[in-house]
Symmetry: C2
Subunit: 311 residues, 2 copies
């Protein structure tokens, strides 16, 4: 669901490699060319206290080494306060243009008049990316995304990267161009994979250069990928990780009252699901597999400083 | 704290009784003149899932018989959904112009440009009523309060009354005039007590008439009133209730992770405090005292339909 839209949009199209970026990110970071590099990344910080506290526990006590924050959400001040005091932690922004849960809502950071096309008749963001695309004006998306970045910076967050909630900021080539341009403007990497080199994405060609970080593979548990259980899915994934830069998107929260109420009627990415993510990544088993497989954890901060901000 | 400001403002001033309303509300409702009438009213619905679920439990299973909803809060959609399906329940609006907690925030329902004087540099409502008063333009308060009422009505809530979070909508005579005028406009009672007849409130004189409900006494537990324990405070209060129309403001929520995180660094009206309110009002002891004292529970809906909307 999270990045379902970008996958939906791009997975059907032929990868052209119009810009050939040699997969030498490992070497540029100082590792062997065929290293298995991995970012274990917690999405959705700021959405709930449950998400904040489970994710901070995981960041402090487990191999989970990066996370991104939803600026428009009610619990943003809690995570912003932590991030401001812990500038060495790896926090990016989970750029947000949707408010998908049934009984718990948020809307834009920008003045509503300037982003009218991004909100429904109740003043909240649309629930689905499809509704967003149907209504949104691209210049208004740019206003809102820039507002989110500026608000995070003004809170003192050391923003290491940008990614996007439900794939919304990369859901069409025109919107993806805004997303990538903002990364360039603020000199932070944005989560992209090789589909950015495909034909429909040619309009972003000029925005991609040697300072662009392009992930080799983005991984995430989908409802149909976890039939054998979440832990089993992750074990196999880590045991079969390909060399290159991998980014694994997870959602760590507790299966508590708050999270159950937020994710009501939505077992996918629901409270129990998020607890399973938390349980696996804070387990001994996970740490063992990473060691056994020689997986090297890299952070977005490292990528930002050594690739995006390289001279 | 909740109505601290109106009390602060008005308790120091001399009660003039410029408009003498005979205390015949009991008779107009069909009770004996010296009846002890009581509304047991839960504030702050919409602020949190914990507050919503504890308050709904209390409304369904205890003498708590009325509540009010904060429209700008993140959990408003949850309580709105319940209220829409339960139109016989007594829900008013807890008109909100402040966002007082440290790590969890909300802002106006109205377009931000139209209510600029009501928000701080982060786009949220001010934490304190003092900051609100220092910045707010009264016409912008009117815009925001009307937006909150209209949003609640458009959600299908059968609004039985208006009251105000932290006393903000009654914090100066000019703002109180807006508050009372909105009650008249939408034909719903607003929470007022006899201080409305005092000299500084003379500018609202023309807004008060025989359809106005004026409560004889508003009761609420304050930090200095609960030294002997919350249950003991409420027991004494109920055992010594005066005849007339009494309104007791309480805050029912669970002492859980969500509520503790919201009320962090603020034991007054914190999670444990709210749990104690919940525990007392859902206890057998509470029901027994009400019976023993012959206290008659009345709802705002009854007052709205028989007083405010009387021909």
């Amino acid at each position: 669901m999270k990045i379902a839209n970008i996958i939906l949009l791009l997975s059907v199209i032929f990868s052209l490699n119009i810009f050939s970026q040699d997969s030498n990110i490992a070497e540029r970071l100082g590792y062997k060319k065929d290293s298995k590099l991995l970012i274990i990344h917690a999405d959705d910080l700021g959405v709930a206290h449950s998400e904040n506290s489970a994710s901070l526990y995981a960041l402090e006590n487990s191999p989970v080494n990066s996370a991104s924050i939803m600026v428009p959400c009610p619990w943003f001040p809690e995570i912003a306060s932590y991030a401001r005091k812990n500038k060495d932690m790896d926090f990016g922004l989970h750029l947000t243009l949707n408010s998908e849960w049934e009984n718990y809502k948020w809307g834009p950071v920008s003045a509503r008049e300037s982003v009218k096309s991004l909100v429904n008749h109740k003043g909240y963001f649309f629930s689905s990316v499809d509704s967003l695309i149907a209504s949104a004006k691209v210049d208004q998306i740019e206003i809102e995304l820039r507002s989110q970045i500026k608000k995070a910076l003004s809170e003192g967050i050391n923003v290491t990267h940008l990614d996007t909630h439900m794939g919304s900021a990369a859901s069409t080539p025109e919107i993806a161009a805004v997303y990538i341009r903002l990364g360039n403007e603020f000199k932070v990497p944005v989560l992209l994979d090789k589909r950015v080199f495909s034909e429909p994405m040619k309009l972003v060609k000029d925005l991609i250069n040697e300072n662009t970080v392009v992930v080799d593979e983005i991984h995430m548990a989908y409802p149909n990928s976890i039939e054998e259980g979440m832990a089993s899915y992750y074990e196999k994934l880590l045991q079969n990780l390909s060399p290159g830069l991998n980014c694994l998107l997870i959602h760590t929260a507790y299966d508590d009252e708050e999270m159950r109420a937020i994710t009501i009627n939505h077992p996918e990415y629901g409270a129990a699901w998020r607890q399973e993510d938390f349980d696996f990544f804070t387990s001994e088993k996970c740490a063992e597999i990473l060691k056994e497989q020689g997986i090297i954890l890299v952070s977005w901060k490292e990528l930002r400083d050594k690739i995006t901000r390289a001279d």
